[in-house]
């Protein structure tokens, strides 16, 4: 029982981070049909922005702010204007290729210009651990979970309760209609890129103490984001959250109880089943196809 709770809590903490990454991923998809194959590298990179800031003497909190700001500029604005916008008219596949190339570019850039080796990364809070029902829960996991929940709830409130959020939602669901209703669609699309940049930066701060900052980190994280987004529902923010959490927990439980050699296969099998049985994802809406 204790070990089950342990797995559940660890899975939840990782899953919450996956959810953050997946939410940004689905937002980009909804507003601009961008399947960002570099999303994992987007999470890998901010940690290095922060490390660079710290190498220049910034305290950790300041470095984090610098990291988030740099992400917004590089992974939000530059990404949209340099990579995505010129590609949009060419359709989904060329953009996929571009983002695969971007992933490679970011990885290699970090490797060549920073380091090929894993770097230790400071933790947000390093106070003690808690014992619940025999399971050990580190303050780190709780902080991860807390920050992730606050971020997701904040995002949810922003999207649903504010005028700006509703305009973004309208843009995501039906850009044509949104334009007719007077929503500044182009601006809203840009905002989703900025939101994604902030989300990946937060995810990076949360995950790097555990993963250690390394140029290859994006490989698994990007995959996790796709899986979470598809399992939960590609066109729903809450679907991505659910998908992320399912994935985190499933990964831990299957590694512990089924097979560690095949642990990477279980989420993929779930993915295939979901796509074939319920392609819109667990919480997704069916997108009516007209003939």
């Amino acid at each position: 029982m204790a070990s089950f709770i342990q797995l559940l809590v660890s899975g939840l903490a990782t899953g919450a981070i996956y959810a953050l990454i997946a939410v940004g991923f689905t937002l980009l998809w909804q507003t601009s049909q961008t399947i960002n194959f570099a999303q994992g590298e987007f999470v890998m990179l901010p940690a290095f922005f922060i490390l660079i800031a710290m190498n220049h003497g910034a305290p950790f909190w300041l470095a984090c702010l610098v990291g988030i700001a740099t992400s917004v500029v590089v992974l939000g604005i530059l990404f949209k204007f340099i990579i995505v916008d010129p590609m949009l008219k060419h359709g989904v596949l060329p953009l996929v290729i571009s983002s695969i190339a971007l992933a490679l570019f970011l990885k290699e850039a970090v490797k060549d210009f920073y380091s090929s080796q894993a770097q230790p990364f400071p933790v947000l809070v390093s106070a003690g651990d808690f014992h619940i029902f025999g399971a050990v829960i580190s303050s780190q996991s709780l902080v991860v979970l807390g920050v992730a929940i606050v971020t997701v709830v904040g995002l949810h409130l922003m999207l649903n309760k504010t005028r700006l959020g509703r305009m973004m939602q309208a843009t995501a669901q039906n850009p044509t209609l949104a334009t007719i209703l007077g929503v500044p669609v182009r601006k809203m699309v840009l905002y989703t890129f900025l939101v994604n940049a902030v989300l990946v930066a937060i995810a990076s701060i949360l995950i790097s103490p555990i993963y250690l900052a390394k140029f290859t980190n994006g490989e698994t994280l990007g995959m996790a984001a796709f899986l979470a987004a598809i399992i939960g529902g590609f066109n729903q923010v809450r679907g991505a959250i659910l998908g992320g959490i399912i994935l985190g927990i499933l990964d831990n439980l299957s590694a512990a109880y089924l097979s560690s050699q095949y642990r990477a296969a279980f989420p993929l099998i779930i993915l295939i089943v979901v796509i074939l049985v319920r392609p819109q994802g667990l919480l997704g809406r069916v997108e009516e196809r007209t003939v």
Binding site: T14, A118, Y211
Partner: protein, 385 residues
């Protein structure tokens, strides 16, 4: 259809480029011994250490006039830690008739490329530890560290006699390095009647070890044997500490390596293990080397740095013994040869190569105390022939 004709000139240009590239060869003043190492990808830590060790030795030797009066010419080629790329890099350097080939470090990369060097009858000085490398009857492959089939008995003896464990849990990384070690270790455990109560495979590059630690905890073994690459070892140690594992942990060389200690911090304290090569060895020559290395590259060398360094000196010694640059004679001479620090100070520790290309030398039992590796015992040579 015309589109093809435009690509043709490009193709021809490329072919011309190959032919032109055949410039790097042994000349009157230098000896061509290229190095194929893991400068990027998953093996970058091992590869860069190996490379820097070789560079240090090369610089020292060249400063003193080289080998038999020829300067060492050692271009570095990146295998990207991928076997296929390592193979084509080896193929590439073979075009230029190397004297010997240095590297690669990863066992998988060694296995894919060693057949080529064997066919060309060029000695290959490798860093890989998978047992299979020296079990294929290849007379041109030589190790710079213990194969797992020799280090694991030493670890196993320690598990039985030192730690007095009756049951062990094994955590290993599912790549050529980890699988080779795991297989040898399991065999040694069986012959010593020690029960393997958990046998956990992890992924290369894995970040989340909570499920693995939960499983290890549940196994309730007397001892945990950890055989993963540097970063994964560090992540595991951190997670194990978090979940409060008190079971003693034992490893082989890597687990007590400098990079692991840097990354794992105090989570590594108390870890013990067999160390094939270490700069913390209580040997003056090694300490001197470690200082020179630190001064030159500004980081603490690990066992792979020592492998690279001693490999170059081994080449120097054997060549001088043969008296000329003859690749075949080199391989023949090295089989069964023992080199002592008295004969060649750069070898650091007495080493013997047997008929298969396996290496034999003293090794150590180490322990991590306050984030530093401490050598607690020295183990004698195995006595291979």
């Amino acid at each position: 259809m015309l589109r093809k004709s435009l690509t043709l000139p490009a193709t021809i240009a490329a072919f011309a480029a190959f032919t032109a590239a055949a410039s790097a060869q042994s000349t009157a003043t230098s000896v061509y011994m290229p190095a194929i190492v893991e400068l990027s990808g998953g093996g970058a830590v091992s590869g860069t250490n190996y490379r820097d060790g070789m560079i240090l030795a090369m610089e020292e030797i060249n400063a003193k006039g080289g080998i038999l009066g020829k300067k060492i010419d050692m271009p570095l080629l990146d295998s990207q830690s991928e076997a296929g790329i390592a193979r084509s890099q080896v193929q590439k350097v073979l075009d230029n008739k190397p004297y010997v080939i240095m590297g690669p470090v990863f066992s998988g990369s060694v296995m894919t490329s060693m057949l080529l060097a064997q066919q060309a009858e060029i000695p290959q000085i490798v860093g890989g530890e998978a047992p299979a490398i020296t079990q294929r009857g290849n007379p041109f492959v030589f190790r710079t560290s213990f194969g797992a089939q020799f280090s694991m008995p030493k670890v196993a003896n320690y598990v039985r006699d030192g730690a007095k464990a009756k049951s062990v849990a094994i955590l290993w990384v599912n790549n050529d390095f980890g699988k080779g070690g795991r297989d040898s270790f399991v065999k040694e455990m069986a012959s010593r009647d020690i029960k393997v109560v958990a046998d956990i495979s992890t992924e290369s590059g894995q970040a989340d070890f909570s499920a693995d630690v939960v499983k290890i905890k549940a196994a309730n073994a007397d001892l945990i044997f950890v055989y993963t690459n540097e970063e994964e070892s560090a992540r595991f140690l951190r997670e194990a500490k978090k979940q409060g594992i008190k079971t003693p942990m034992v490893g082989e060389t890597t687990l007590l390596g400098q990079k692991v200690l840097d990354l794992a911090g105090d989570a590594a304290n108390g870890v013990k293990g067999h160390v094939g090569l270490t700069v913390d060895a209580p040997i003056d020559a090694v300490k001197g080397f470690a200082e020179r290395f630190k001064k030159r590259f500004n980081y603490v060398c690990d066992h792979n740095g020592m492998k690279g360094y001693t490999a170059i000196y081994m080449v120097k010694h054997v060549t001088e013994k043969v008296g000329k640059f003859d690749s075949k004679a080199f391989a023949e001479t090295l089989h069964g040869l023992t080199i002592t620090p008295a004969q060649e100070p750069g070898i650091l520790m007495e080493a013997t190569w047997d008929k298969n290309g396996d290496i034999d030398r003293e090794s150590f039992i180490g322990e991590v105390v306050d984030g530093k590796q401490k050598i607690v015992a020295t183990l004698p040579k195995l006595g291979l022939k």
